[in-house]
Amino acid sequence: MMSKIVRTITNILYSSILIFGFYIIMHGHLTPGGGFQGGAVVASGIALVLIAYGYDTAKDWIKKSNLSILESIGGLAFIGVAFLGIGTTFFYNFLANSGTLFGNPTVIGINPGDLNTAGVLPLMSWAVGLKVLAGLGSIILLMAYGIKKGDEK
């Protein structure tokens, strides 16, 4: 556990980091970013909590089993979205230009951007983002656990 300054700043910054990461995941098809980058940002928030509060508090804050479930959900959703387009091919973008969810046609050329475009890409982005944030978060938690068990002996 670190000093009170670090803990206070962590309390202020933690939600902002999470929201920024989810923003990067959500806008992956319009601005620089995507599932991996946003997931890494959220995982860095988890690492900040872990460093500021120590393993024992962070373990109660962020449950490792929830992260495992989240990662499995992300992986299954990625493969499931890929299988939904199997009418044409695996990984077919069946929602693009369809007029339904994320189905608005894009203006060709330079445009200000519309969130409701790109077909299945935002869904895949969310799936991969959940998978990456859960995977990296559980890796960080597990390594902190291993270091802590080494200190006790």
Binding site: T31, N104, T106, G113, S125, V128
Partner: protein, 88 residues
């Protein structure tokens, strides 16, 4: 002795690296760009995405991303298996 052999090997490899870096095609004019020009021109129409990199990662080369997700999953499983024996 072993250290000098390693140093000589490193010097030879570095020479090859630096020579090939200098003799490469000039910076700022890529050699083959037909595929990338196709992606830049058609990505907006085919995947209705503004970000061409995302359209390649998740659409044109989705299998790459699938393999990458598998590698990440395998790493998580490996790390949790390594630290499992510590949990009494």
């Amino acid at each position: 002795m072993k250290k000098y052999v390693a140093l000589a090997a490193l010097l030879v490899v570095s020479g090859f690296f630096l020579l090939s870096a200098i003799e490469m095609h000039s910076f700022g004019s890529p050699a083959e760009e037909d595929m990338d020009r196709y992606f830049i021109e058609n990505a907006q129409e085919e995947t209705s995405t503004n970000n061409v990199v995302t359209s390649i990662v998740f659409d044109y080369r989705g299998f790459d991303t699938l393999g990458e997700a598998t590698v990440l999953f395998t790493a998580v499983v490996g790390v949790s298996l390594l630290f499992r024996r510590l949990r009494k």
